[in-house]
């Protein structure tokens, strides 16, 4: 484990020096396994935040108060500690240049992590495919990779739409409220352009966003979902 960086009050990015890594595809995840001195183990999945082109593998981890692995990763882990991980895992929630587009990325909270890997991969390539990111966060301070995404939007063809759902600055000129059909109809590629859509976030977010996309006329078969977290029901 090489370095740790605070992204937001609840998230940290862990950069790893790996002894033996076969490479990954943008959107995949890894399993991290922790082992206590008495042999007790806990293992959870985390999306890879870095692009295949990046020199170090990066994971951005959100601290869950009732979590078992994430508080260790955000609060206890120090540079130089060993981490056991397995992967890359998953082959469906993946984007690569030949998949084409237009590429529509829809993220809620830390669901932006695998989308950021796709964006970095896209930015490292020929950028032939138009791309839009619609990102929903509770407040400005909880926006992960804000500087990087803003810079990408300025320097590349990325269209970046940020919506804040709970708190926003007085002079906030961006979108407010949760991602719904009205917002999607306003800022997403129109269904006639048949965008390839990746939706990632908490379960309820993904359910709502995917249903709104289908209701707007987007093809269900071109909407790929990745969900995390309990339903609360």
């Amino acid at each position: 484990m090489a370095t740790l960086r605070d992204e937001t009050p609840l998230t940290k990015t862990i950069r790893l020096e790996l002894d033996d890594w076969s490479g990954h595809r943008a959107g995949q995840h890894v399993d991290i396994r922790l082992t206590a001195e008495d042999g007790y183990q806990a293992e959870r999945s985390y999306s890879i935040a870095s692009a295949p082109e990046d020199t170090q593998l990066a994971l951005t981890v959100e601290r869950l108060d009732d979590g078992e692995v994430s508080p260790y990763l955000t609060d206890e882990l120090r540079p130089g500690d060993d981490l056991e991980l397995r992967g890359p895992i998953g082959g469906y929630f993946v984007w690569e240049e030949p998949y084409g587009g237009p590429l529509l990325l829809v993220g809620g909270g830390s669901g932006v992590v695998p989308l950021r890997a796709m964006l970095r991969h896209w930015a490292a390539g020929p950028r032939d495919v138009p791309v839009r990111l619609i990102y929903s966060a509770r407040s400005l301070e909880e926006v992960i990779y804000r500087e990087e995404l803003t810079r990408l939007a300025e320097e590349t063809g990325l269209e970046f739409h940020l919506t804040l759902t709970r708190q926003w600055p007085d002079d906030w000129a961006g979108h407010r409220g949760r991602i719904d059909r009205a917002l999607l109809d306003q800022v997403a590629f129109p269904p006639a352009q048949r965008p390839l859509v990746y939706v990632c976030g908490p379960t309820a977010f993904v359910e709502t966003a995917a249903q709104a996309l289908v209701a707007s006329g987007h093809e269900a078969g071109r909407i790929r979902n990745e969900r995390f977290g309990p339903t609360g029901t």
């Binding site: 500690d81 379960t203 359910e207 078969g221």
Partner: protein, 201 residues
């Protein structure tokens, strides 16, 4: 041999019964939702359940006929490859044994297919003899779309991706043909007690 994670003690769940919770799993009271695409909403008057493929004669039941088939109530533990297990879940549905009762076939495998395009493969030996159901009630209520309603496959002794949501049919096959997650790196069989999560396990 796993390295010790310095400073990690873990949140042990002393109450978890190792005879019921497979290795690497934790018990949750929630019912998390996982799926690769949007939730389909097929109206019941357009719904049917079909058994076809390597069979002498394909058979299909519209919804009303399907729920009139002899049903069973089962209470089982379920285990998701993403590490959660949920104990004592109660379901009502038709056993795969009952569905295959009048089907003539030499096939040894099947592909369960679903609205939305999902598929998963199973050996007949893993769903026969009281091991598999097509369930349409959960906890005494109609199965919600998010959890696979109107009906989902229920094969509780394997990881839950084998229990295909929104299932519409079983296609019997002479050979084992990997389904959706099975072609994306997940284990072909998925026995939670052997931790068969990914290819190579």
């Amino acid at each position: 041999m796993s390295p010790i994670s310095r400073g990690f003690t873990g949140r042990r769940r002393e109450g978890d019964d190792p005879s019921r919770v497979p290795p690497g799993q934790y018990v949750t009271a929630d019912f998390p939702v996982l799926s690769a695409g949007p939730t389909p909403h097929t109206p019941l008057d357009e719904w049917s359940f079909t058994i076809d493929g390597a069979v002498t004669e394909a058979v299909s039941w519209p919804w009303e006929e399907f729920i009139a088939l002899p049903a069973e109530d089962v209470t089982v533990d379920i285990h998701c490859v993403t590490k959660w297990s949920k104990l004592d879940t109660s379901w009502r549905g038709v056993s795969v044994d009952a569905l295959l009762e009048n089907v003539e076939s030499e096939a040894g495998y099947l592909t369960a297919w679903s609205d939305g395009g999902y598929t998963t493969n199973l050996a007949l030996g893993d769903v026969a003899d009281g091991q598999g159901w097509v369930a349409y009630e959960y906890g005494g209520q109609p199965l919600e779309p998010e959890h696979g309603g109107p009906a989902r496959l229920l094969v509780p002794h394997l990881y839950f991706w084998k229990s295909a949501k929104w299932v519409r049919g079983l296609t019997l096959t002479p050979d084992d043909q990997p389904g959706f997650w099975e072609t994306y790196g997940y284990h072909n069989r998925g026995d939670p007690w052997l931790e068969q999560r990914y290819q190579g396990d």
